[in-house]
């Protein structure tokens, strides 16, 4: 069951029991490290970043790699979540949990409203439009007195959670995000999404309700991105328009997904680990980091178009976390 060999194709899928055991073992080990404070605070800070980037990149990959909706506006959800948490905790004196919930709520409502205009566009038009909408929100917040205009807001959470608590929450969000993408791709909606990525008109012609599918993934992506960003910005302690709604968020996600492997569930995980360490290293060369990240992205597209995971899977002839359907397995 674990390795099913295809007749005409050299792809094996590693899933079911052994894969499940490995995943549970890995996740348990991470929980153990977070809960027992086995790792130093510094290590945990890296871990938090990795978990949150995996979450956000997983969502960008769901949009772009699996559905063909290449959004350049994920920073919209990030900014909205940051301000929601800031308003909830600092102005309204609510708990961090309520703040994160508010972030999700606001992002989802905005995502639903955007459905009116955004999903009529495809390809480049969609990408540019998502970016423009995020820019509009940045300008709105720049001029909004209640949220401190250009100087932004500090996020004061009382009581401030300990770092290992944040780490556990971040890990939980990350695991939920990966599981959500994995299981979503195995449903009928996932099948429709994959078809839409390859050819949206043909998908519509064979009965896929393109609008509903787009609405569904865009909303899920908004919700998960918002939670992850909320935790991220609490850790930073401040949010202002240029940082919250900055395109550089999405650039990071593009880097992670492209380098890790677009259209694979493993890709964003690998990419996020690389990104966090690389970013740390590049901090020594102020001003150069985006140029270097951009150059690496371009080189990857040129020489390793399927990214690290995609290339590994192709070379070794296996797929992990695959949603591929087979005609001869009894399970599907």
């Amino acid at each position: 069951m674990a390795k099913r060999r295809l007749k005409n194709d050299n792809v094996r899928v590693l899933d079911s029991l052994p894969m499940l055991i490995v995943c549970i073992a890995a996740v348990s080990a991470l929980y153990f490290v977070c809960l027992t404070k086995l790792a130093s605070n510094n290590t945990m800070r890296y871990m938090i970043q990795i978990f949150l980037y995996i979450t956000m990149a997983q969502m960008w990959n769901l949009l772009s790699g699996f559905t063909g909706m290449t959004s350049l506006g994920q920073q919209l959800n990030i900014g909205l979540a940051g301000y929601s948490v800031a308003i909830a905790t600092t102005k309204l004196h609510l708990s961090l949990g309520m703040g994160l919930l508010m972030g999700v709520g606001v992002s989802v409502v905005v995502a639903l409203l955007m459905s009116l205009i955004l999903y009529r566009m495809e390809g480049m038009y969609f990408s540019i439009a998502t970016w423009v909408v995020a820019e509009i929100f940045e300008k709105l917040f720049l001029n909004w007195k209640y949220v401190g205009q250009g100087s932004g807001m500090t996020i004061r959470v009382v009581p401030y959670p300990r770092i290992n608590e944040i780490c556990v929450v971040a890990l939980t969000v990350c695991v939920l995000a990966v599981a959500a993408v994995y299981f979503l791709l195995r449903t009928r909606i996932g099948l429709g999404l994959t078809a839409m990525r390859d050819d949206i008109s043909a998908a519509s012609a064979v009965g896929v309700n393109v609008f509903n599918h787009k609405l569904f993934v865009y909303t899920i992506a908004a919700a998960f991105t918002a939670v992850a960003a909320g935790i991220f910005l609490v850790n930073k302690g401040i949010v202002y328009p240029e940082s919250g709604f900055s395109i550089s968020w999405t650039i990071s996600l593009v880097f992670i997904v492209i380098v890790g492997g677009s259209g694979t569930v493993g890709g964003p995980i690998v990419g996020a680990v690389i990104y966090v360490f690389l970013q740390e290293y590049l901090a020594r060369f102020p001003g150069w980091s985006n140029i270097i990240l951009g150059a690496i992205t371009i080189l990857t597209i040129l020489f390793l178009p399927k990214g690290i995971m995609g290339t590994l899977q192709e070379k070794l002839g296996f797929e992990i976390f695959s949603a591929k359907r087979f005609s001869y397995s009894k399970r599907r």
Binding site: R188, D198, V206
Partner: protein, 242 residues
């Protein structure tokens, strides 16, 4: 005979350019209905109106007794309108099986478990069964055309729309497609078939319509339509006066 499809005085076009001009025709159940006509005569526009990709400005389209003029295209698909694309548009990164599975799950509204049987039988009917695990992007043109048909069959259509499925194929391959269509007719499908190759149409259709400038200029038994003065003039440039 009962009618599966009726166009009633349909006007349609793109923006201000009107292509279909008061077009009326009807297709009976179980019929292979051929449509010919020079380039720009409105054949594909007729398909687009039928599929809901453009909205008619006047007239009605009745499919299986229901007025579908204002319905969206994926609803029409679920009601039983299956189409093929003139230039095949497979889901290239998915296997043939997955290609047809999408159709059976979404167009056929089945659970994946049940859709599997539908998908496999569609692949059998089109002769692609042995290749079902190959990536669709690796197929030859003939097999891509077959996959178009298999995918349309996966939606369990009552009426199958074939848009130039024989175009670009060699003579031997065209014969294979003709055989496939004959088998589909025998299996009880109603079919509308747009094609340029007149020989193919005379041999494979029950009824033929010739279109020009968005209108139907001749309808009837295929041989008679091909032989009519209007069609001769359109296709061969022979003028009535000469």
């Amino acid at each position: 005979m009962e009618e599966i499809l009726e166009f009633m005085n349909v006007n349609a076009g793109y923006g201000r350019v009107q292509i279909l001009d008061d077009l009326s025709f009807s297709v009976e159940k179980g019929q292979v209905y051929g449509v010919i006509g020079p380039n720009g005569s409105g054949k594909t526009t007729m398909f687009n109106a039928l599929l809901g990709l453009i909205k008619p400005s006047a007239g009605k389209i009745i499919f299986d007794g229901v007025d579908i003029t204002r319905m969206s295209s994926n609803v029409r698909c679920k009601m039983g309108l299956g189409r093929t694309f003139q230039i095949p548009r497979p889901f290239e990164n998915m296997s043939l099986y997955e290609n047809v599975l999408v159709a059976a799950v979404h167009g056929g509204s089945h659970s994946e478990r049940f859709a599997k049987d539908v998908a496999l039988s569609s692949l059998k009917q089109t002769g692609l069964y042995d290749k079902r695990e190959i990536r669709a992007g690796e197929l030859t043109l003939l097999d891509r055309k077959r996959l178009e048909i298999a995918r349309a069959l996966g939606t369990e259509p009552k009426l199958l729309l074939l848009d130039e499925v024989a175009a670009g194929l060699t003579e031997a391959e065209v014969k294979e497609i003709m055989e496939l269509v004959a088998n589909l007719k025998a299996a009880g499908y109603s079919i509308i078939w747009i094609e340029h190759i007149i020989e193919t149409m005379v041999g494979s259709t029950d009824y033929l319509m010739c279109m020009a400038q968005g209108k139907s200029v001749a309808q009837g038994e295929p041989r008679e339509v091909i032989g009519s003065a209007e069609v001769q003039r359109l296709y061969l440039g022979v003028d009535d006066d000469e």
